[in-house]
Amino acid sequence: MSRTSSALIEGMRKLVVEENLELRELKPEDSVEIAAVVENCFDHLTTWLPWVNSTYTAKDTKVFIKRARILSEQGRGLQMAVVQNGRIVGGIGFNNIDTVNRVAEIGYWLSESATGKGLMTKCCKALVDHGFRELGLNRIVIRCATENTKSQAIPLRLGFTFEGISREAEKLHNKYVDLKVYSLLSSDKKPFDQRA
C-alpha cells in the first residue's frame, strides 16, 4: 500500500486517500453541506453522535469548524471533511493532540449512503499514517461506544489494541454510554504496513 499523499494548501491540510477520495481540512463554508448530509440521514447519525440532536443546525457545525481551525493553528487538533467525488460524505479528525506525550485521539462519522464500503477504514488509515509520520505522534486512540460494533470494526481492522472499557465516559442524548478504548502505537506492528 502506498503512502498517503499529504499537502498544505493555503495553510489547510489535504490528504489524498485514493482516486476520488480525500480528506481536507474543514472550512466554515462546509457547514451548509454538512448540515444537508445530517438532515439526509439524521436517524443514522443521531444514534452515536452527541452533536446530532434535535436542536442541531448548520450554525453548530460552523462554530465547531471555527474552533477547530484555532486548535489546528496551535497544532492541537485537525478536523477534516471526508470528500468522495467532490462531495462531503463524512468527517474525521484528531481531537486533543497532546504534543507533550505525543498522543491524539481520532473521531469519525460517515453518512448512511457511504457506509459498508470500507471507506472510513481507508480514511482512518490515511490519518493514522499522517499522525505517525508527519505529526510525530507515538500513540493514537480510538474510543467507540460498546454497542457500536460497526465503529469498533475500524480500529480492529487497522491493528489497534483493545485496552479497556471507560464506564459512562460519553453523554449521548441524556444517557451515558460506555466506551471501548483502542490504541495504536508507532512501534506497533501494523497490518497495513506488511504489504508496503
Binding site: 452527541p50 507533550v100 506525550n101 505525543r102 498522543v103 507515538n138 500513540r139 489494541t161 485496552e163 479497556g164 472499557i165 471507560s166 464506564r167 459512562e168 465516559a169 460519553e170 453523554k171 451515558y176 478504548v181 490504541s183 502505537l185
Partner: protein
Amino acid sequence: MFISYKVDDEIKLTYPLELNAAELQKVVAGSNEHLNRWVPWAKLDFSHEDALVHIQFLNDMFTKNSNFWVFINYRGKIVGGVGLNRFDLDNQATDLGYWLAESAQGNGIVTRACSAMIEYVFTDLGYNRIELRTNSENQKSVAVADRLGFTKEGTLRQAEVINNVFRDLDLYSLLKEEWD
C-alpha cells in the same frame, strides 16, 4: 475568593499563591527522587524559580477554567497537591490527580484530601465520572485509587512521557452512583 478549605483537624486544602514558592521548592526538592519518578514537572534540580513557574501555571489554568489544583497542607505545612485536570462539561467528567512528599506518606493524607475533592466534584459540580490515571508500578498511588473505591478499567499503553521515557498508565474511574 477561595483561599483555604478545612478537610479535618490535620488537613487543609489551600489555593496556590506565589508566596508559597519557597515552601513548595523545599518540599519538592526534599522529596526529589521519589517525586521525580512519577510527577512530570518535579524535576531533579527543582529550584525556587521552578516553584514560582509551577504556581503561576496552576493559577493560569484555574483562570482559564481548565485545571483546578490546590496544595495539601498537613499540620500547617505544604506536603502535596490534589487537583482536577480537565472539565468535560459535555460528558460531566473530570480527571483527578495528586502528589505527596515522601516524608508525609503513610498518614492517609492523599486519601482524605482526595475524598474532599471527590465530594466537591460529585456534589457541588454534579459531575458523573472521575478518571484517575496512575502508573501501575506506583503502588502507593494504586492503593489510594483502591481505597477511594475506584475501578480499574484498563492499561493505557505509553500514555505519558516521564523523564523522556514513555510509560503505561492504568486507567481508573469512579462514578457518582458509586460515591456516598
